[in-house]
């Protein structure tokens, strides 16, 4: 229970501390001490009226004590300690007076001067409140590796002078893109190999961002997209096997997530948003409506492809076109794509060839897709399709 409170408070508390102390590492140590103290005192003395303010004040005071003690620190830091001490205590009593600086922290963590994997790890650690151990587990790397990655990123922020600020308007769109990309990457890492559910973490981050930037259509659309996709997670697999969208048990879909996703998408389009996340959310929405409006889906993929110039988007458009104009039309679009190492290219092409009755070619294409697919449900699904293509005599 207390752990949940801590998870919710961590990003908020840490961001304010970074704002005060000017350093992530220092803020993290101070926050950790405050949370440790809280887990000792709250169960005994009861939760304070304003937990956030209590945690921030306690952490701040700890940090000042530490700065006072630590005589090896530079003069500049001591001066900062003095300035902090001189601040009146009462500014900390009321959360409404405490600045919410999670956006500043998010933009610092997702700064393009950091490597992408460092951005992702740092965001999950600082704003997501995951422990280093959990972040390491989520990305299947040893604790030591993740710990080094995080330390290095924090050093770079300090040494290179990466600002703790929301970027000015002229660079905001590209910097916001970087933040959105980090969150979406976390989402697409899948449903937690182990104890950490990254899709849920990404949705949490998306919700924080949507609260802080309620007028950015792409922010709302990314959250909508994640919710709409996540709503079907329990229907996607049955007995460890893949269930295609049309065969899914709709009673397993999360209606609340779908409703939330749709209302966010409506807000995004009301803001006249037409960016890549708005388009993707709109497509995700169309996919779960019945009957599926393939014309509209193909149109939106066309628009998305125009913006992103991504051959993967064109691949998806080919599937939609195939539903409207038949497998011949889909194949024509597919043959123009240069996606030789992408397994879904081969499985899609195989599927189209199968529908055209070109079984030998289909079998070869499925084989290529199989080669590119790791063992698991997806591989079993493809193997099943290949088996269906074998002449009856060859089946077991």
């Amino acid at each position: 229970m207390l752990e949940d409170v801590f998870r919710d408070q961590w990003g908020r508390v840490l961001a304010t501390l970074v704002g005060i102390l000017g350093d992530i590492e220092l803020a993290e140590d101070a926050a950790q001490e405050a949370f440790a103290l809280a887990s000792e005192r709250w169960p005994r003395d009861g939760e304070p009226d304003n937990p956030t303010a209590w945690l921030i004040t306690t952490a701040r005071n700890r940090a000042i004590d530490r700065l006072r003690r630590d005589r090896t620190l530079a003069r500049k830091t001591e001066q900062m300690g003095r300035e902090l001490r001189d601040r009146p205590e009462d500014t900390m009593d009321d959360t409404t007076k405490l600045p919410d600086e999670r956006l500043e922290l998010l933009f610092a963590c997702c700064h393009p001067a950091l490597a992408l994997e460092a951005q992702v790890a740092l965001t999950l650690r600082t704003l997501g409140g995951l422990s280093t151990d959990d972040v390491a587990a989520a990305f299947l790397v040893p604790f030591e590796t993740m710990s080094k990655r995080l330390s290095r990123a924090k050093r770079k922020i300090r040494a290179a002078g990466i600002p703790f600020a929301v970027p000015p308007a002229h660079v905001l769109p590209e910097r916001l893109d970087a933040v959105l990309a980090v969150i979406y990457l976390v989402f697409n890492q899948g449903w937690g190999a182990g104890r950490v559910d990254l899709a849920t973490e990404a949705i949490r981050l998306g919700q924080v961002l949507a609260t802080l930037m309620p007028d950015e259509s792409e922010v709302l659309a990314l959250l909508a997209l994640m919710l709409l996709n996540d709503s079907r997670r329990h229907a996607r697999m049955r007995d460890d096997e893949i269930v295609l969208l049309d065969d899914q048990d709709r009673s397993l879909w999360n209606e609340q997530q779908i409703a939330d996703g749709r209302s966010l998408l409506e807000r995004a389009t009301a803001l006249r948003g037409s960016g890549p996340y708005v388009l993707q959310a709109a497509i995700a929405d169309l996919h779960i409506r019945q009957p599926r409006d393939w014309e509209q889906i193909a149109l939106l993929y066309g628009e998305l492809g125009r913006i992103t110039r991504s051959p993967v988007v064109e691949l998806n458009r080919a599937i939609a076109v195939g539903e409207i104009a038949g497998p011949d039309a889909a194949l024509e679009l597919l043959e123009a794509l240069d996606l030789g190492d992408y397994r879904y290219f081969h499985s899609t092409r195989a599927d189209v060839l199968r529908r055209l009755g070109r079984d030998d070619e289909a079998r070869l294409a499925y084989g290529r897709a199989l080669e590119l697919t790791a063992a698991g449900p997806e591989q079993r699904f493809l193997a099943m399709r290949v088996a269906e293509l074998l002449p009856p005599g060859d089946r077991e």
Binding site: H111, A113, A159, A160, G161, I162, P163, V171
Partner: protein, 114 residues
């Protein structure tokens, strides 16, 4: 903070480089108040790279990075943060004179004997 913008020049290092006029766009940036110093380097062929192999100092003729680009000079600027420094670098890079610009924060403390 102080930043060094390391300008990587395009193409082969020409012996006549020093005699050539500086690109007017770069000259204009060098005159600005946020630029605290700059150095235009002699051609890369004049460089000697010092490395250490075990305990022996090795001297190698030529610049450290053995590629088409070479370090042509650097500009020292004063900026509030990395974003401001990157903006100056982007502005210079947009002139399409340099192959790349590396932005390096500079240690601010006084060195012994300085």
């Amino acid at each position: 903070m102080k930043y060094a913008l390391l300008n990587y020049s395009k193409g082969a290092a020409s012996g006549e480089r020093g005699a050539r006029d500086m690109h007017p766009g770069i000259a204009a940036v060098l005159d600005r108040p946020d630029v605290s110093g700059w150095v235009r380097l002699q051609p890369a062929e004049s460089a000697t790279t010092v490395t250490l192999e075990g305990r022996t100092t090795l001297l190698t003729d030529g610049p450290f990075v053995d590629s088409k680009e070479f370090l042509g000079g650097f500009i020292m600027i004063e900026a509030d943060n990395l974003d401001e420094a990157l903006a100056v670098a982007a502005e210079l890079q947009a002139l399409d004179v340099t192959a790349a610009i590396e932005v390096r924060p500079v240690f601010e403390q006084e060195l012994g004997g300085a």
